[in-house]
Amino acid sequence: MACVLGISAYYHDAAAALVIDGEVIVAIQEERLSRIKNDPGLPISAALACLAYAGVDPAAVDALAFYEEPFIKLERIMVHLLRHLPRTWRIFPRAIAGQLGAKIWVLDQLAETLGVPRARVVSFEHHHSHAASAYLVSPYEDAAVLVVDGVGEVHSTSIWDGHDGQLRMLASVDFPHSLGLLYAGLTAWLGFAVNEGEYKVMGLAAWGRTTLRPEFDRIIKLHADGSYELELACFAHMSDAELGFGPALERILGPRRPPGRPWDLTDPADLRYADAAATLQQVLEDALLGLARRARALTGRKHLCLAGGVALNALANARLRRESGFDRLFVQPAAGDAGGALGAALLASHRLGDRRPKAMTGAALGLPIDVTRTHAVAAELGLRVRRVDDPAAFTAKLIAEDRIVAHARGRFEWGPRALGQRSILARPQDRAIRERLNRVIKEREPFRPFAPAILSERTAEYFAADADDMSPFMTTVAPVRPEARARLAAVTHEDGTARLQTVDLARAPELHAVLTALAAEGHDPVVLNTSLNGAGEPIVASGEDALAFLLRHAVDALIVEDLVIERPT
């Protein structure tokens, strides 16, 4: 019977998660509270918010679990800096300052800042935390676990056997060979921000052809045993932590795309960049397939859990499901570094004798909205606010009238996906809505797709797939049925797929009610669902955030629990 607070921090996506008596009570990414996208700082606000939500005093915390081993990481960084001397001269002062100035003292900092006795602060290895974050909340008794990210302390890829609530590492590929760093390097080469633009690369891939495979075969070698090897000269791990790629990559693929230049996919130059994204996607999928087959051979398990930032590649996950030979796949919604906080908390909880948690049913693990306060602030802003008896039916009515609705109900989501609690919802039929959302509201590239959310039991009517263990968390894609494409034009991507979310009552009751209301009125039980945030901002958390969003963005209405704030038509 333990109360454990898990923390991830100091790389990107800092987070806190609270586990009590083995169950996940609350989990929050710091960015939602600090309003700084991918906030890497010590997640003190998130930690205190977790404790406050559960009514736990910091002194009553039995263990505070950090998701990484700071000194093992320090050793890897020192070895790396010395191994590549003199090319590391530029990053040496900053890397040392980062490590000695803050990172190696993180356990003491956490104890001191949160008021938890130092003896109760523990740490786990990065990939162990990732593996636990997926396996321990998965619906599987036994499973192979594949962790793929940029780098933890040493490993960039690891295979684990999850059995009877325990995890055992079987094999790893170590830094600097890393699929995460391959993807990051190409993200930077395509002119996007690393750790932020990876989704854009995935979206861009559908517009290109896989014509650059010979070039990519020089950048990464995939071995028959499932392992892989990067051509290290193509990357800049050793000389420039910001850029991510080296001159050799430009010699193979050509010059990088200038960051910030508007995209024009009728321009042959931009089409070639789209070809690079498509080929990268293909190579990544082939690599992951090799890793998954290796995991299956090593463990003999029927189910696979995926974790690490690379596990958020929905296209690759769909292909793994089809071709890896595993019966079922699970990806925890915060598969990136934020998820490490959850994994570390679960490992510490298990160590203290608590049972494994129930399988994760929903991602609404954040904080609820203070409706009274939101009402009062909205009134002070001079907005026309009213209460409705049935907000789901009202939302459905607005959507059916082709209006774009900002929807903030329930506790906010855990992970990078908006799953209905903090979403922008619209009709999925009209491509013009997609253009309006991309251009005016989200201010993002025209090639980026929007996702559909559909009533779980009606999935097969619209998609050539059924709901599975990934689809409730929007971590996979499915082909849209040809006969449904016209009705789902705004959410069907260039390649005919959609990153669908299947919605059931237990996981997303608010969104389920909206879809049910749409179906009851004879409409398709599908909505376009995109995250409730402006360009470069984290997803909305509080009522104040939702109001701030409304002030800046041209949505037609904002629904906050049972409050409705409409713009004059």
């Binding site: 600090s34 309003r35 700084i36 996208k37 070895v79 010395l82 191994r83 001397l85 003199p86 001269w89 040496f92 002062p93 040392i96 300052a97 490993h155 079987l170 094999a171 790893s172 590929v173 170590d174 600097p176 060979h177 921000a193 071995h223 045993d225 499932g226 392992s227 090897e229 290290l232 910030g260 290796r294 306060r373 009062a376 602030v377 009134a379 002070e380 802003l381 470069g536 509080s542 104040e544 955030d545 109001l547 701030a548 002030l551 800046r552």
Partner: protein, 226 residues
């Protein structure tokens, strides 16, 4: 009280705005400052117990977000005109968590102080641009100045309502001193960073023999590891 900020801005204008590249960098720095201010105001809106002030902070944050965009866009255009275009980086700033650090009274005083300082600086720049026939930049600053004046006024009004006139004045003096201290510390940090980098590079050179050892003892590992 002499307007030191405005005077300094007037004196330095020919230097600050001498080329499109320099102008772009300066405007981008303003964009980042506005973005950081927006974050602080959003946090303040979530923390103040008063819905009235929360609403005011949200409106103010909205203005700051708009200013950040305006500065950033103009900076990008100027950068494109530069002979050697500067790399401006993304529009991304950190919040200083001023509300948590200072409490609401001193937060308001600090915002008022900052807005007034920005107003004086922007007024000086606006005059300079007008005199040098840089109409777009003049218009940009004049547009933003409308909001800056309002921000300076409302924060002072709120402050006086919250704590009364004498305490409001004391709070503004206090945060002015605090800001001066922070500037001093920033200067110290700037110097310390240079000393640190020089020391680290010396250490790096001295560590060179270790590099050979590391390459022998800890080579890069390929393929599967157990």
């Amino acid at each position: 009280m002499p307007d030191l900020t405005g005077t300094l801005a007037r004196i330095l204008s020919p230097l600050v705005w001498r080329t499109p590249g320099h102008s772009a960098r300066r405007l981008h720095a303003f964009a980042l400052a506005e973005h950081g201010s927006m974050l602080d105001l959003r946090l303040a809106a979530a923390r103040t117990p008063s819905p009235l002030r929360a609403a005011a902070y949200l409106k103010h944050a909205d203005d700051e977000a708009r200013h950040a965009q305006m500065f950033a866009r103009r900076a990008q255009r100027l950068a494109a005109d530069a002979r050697k275009p500067p790399s401006l980086g993304p529009l991304r700033a950190d919040s200083e968590r001023l509300f948590e650090t200072l409490g609401e009274r001193d937060f308001l005083a600090f915002v008022h102080f900052g807005e007034e300082r920005a107003r004086r600086q922007f007024e000086a720049y606006s005059i300079w641009f007008k005199g040098h026939a840089r109409d777009q930049d003049h218009k940009l600053f004049e547009t933003i100045l409308v909001d800056e004046r309002h921000h300076g006024t409302y924060t002072r009004e709120f402050l006086v309502t919250l704590v009364g006139e004498p305490e409001a004045r004391a709070a503004i003096r206090r945060v002015a001193r605090w800001e001066l201290g922070r500037r001093w510390m920033r200067t110290g940090r700037f110097v310390a960073e240079r000393v640190y980098i020089a020391t680290m590079l010396l250490l790096y050179v001295l560590a060179a023999p270790l590099a050979v050892l590391v390459r022998l003892a800890r080579p890069i590992r390929r393929g599967w590891q157990k």
